[in-house]
């Protein structure tokens, strides 16, 4: 739904890659990166299945499907944002790496991982500082 709204937004916006961004665009960007991290989860599930088994193809197929959805959204996002800015948001995947590690793969979380994620978030915010 958000994607549709930003599509309409682009039709009315003449200059597609500059200044006026709506929060919806950033929300779509963050959601698309969140979705892309799920493909990694599927990859890990696929890797734990016997190769060429039904579940292997299920998870692998799901991984490809998620990457496809992500690719479709990504193209719409970079149409409206500078690449260097949009790309920096990819680092937010690290947050989800931490979350999936904790809730799905029972990995341990230590202080350096949390600090790492916090530093990355600060970095993304600094990239997005707007000069008036």
């Amino acid at each position: 739904m958000e994607e549709k709204e930003s599509l309409e937004y682009s039709n009315t916006e003449k200059n597609r890659t500059t200044k006026k961004h709506t929060w919806i665009l950033y929300l779509v960007l963050l959601i698309s990166i969140f979705i892309s991290t799920l493909s990694g989860v599927c990859a890990k599930f696929a890797a734990s299945q016997p190769i060429f088994s039904f579940k292997f193809f299920l998870y692998y197929g799901l991984e490809i499907l998620i990457l496809g959805i992500y690719a479709i959204i990504w193209q719409q996002v970079i149409k409206r944002l500078n690449l260097a800015i949009a790309y920096s948001f990819k680092a937010s995947a690290l947050i989800w790496t931490l979350v999936w590690g904790l809730i799905i793969f029972n990995e341990t979380i230590n202080a350096t991982k949390i600090i790492g994620v916090a530093i990355v978030i600060v970095g993304i915010i600094i990239v997005n500082i707007k000069k008036k």
Binding site: R16, T17, A71, I72, W74, Q75, I78, K79, N82, L83, A84, I85, Y87, S88, A91, L94, T97, L98, T112, K113, I115, G116, V117, A118, I119, V120, I121, V122, G123, I124, I125, I126, V127, N128, I129, K131
Partner: protein
Amino acid sequence: MIYYFIMVLSVIVASFSQILLKVGANKKYDSIKKEYLNRYVIGGYFLLFLSTLLTIWAYTRIAYTSGPIIESLAYIFVMILSFLILKEKISWNIILGNVIIIIGIIVFYI
């Protein structure tokens, strides 16, 4: 050592793939279908596919945790290529922010 170079090469190829996707996104198309099925987007994803092959090749020899750290170089490559090829304006905060992002990724994976 050569495998680290292959990993860096993979990151460079992936960064060029992003530039191609952006070049494709900057053009006007008369249908949604053509926004995706054009030589830039197809070429971009071909490069990305190539990059995954290089990554797999590199991972046969390099440590698993050093992969994401080397991959984080993409933030710098994409920034430089955006400036050189796409003529995007790269202000001080974009440079600083991306350097901080890389530091965060290194802290996360060490």
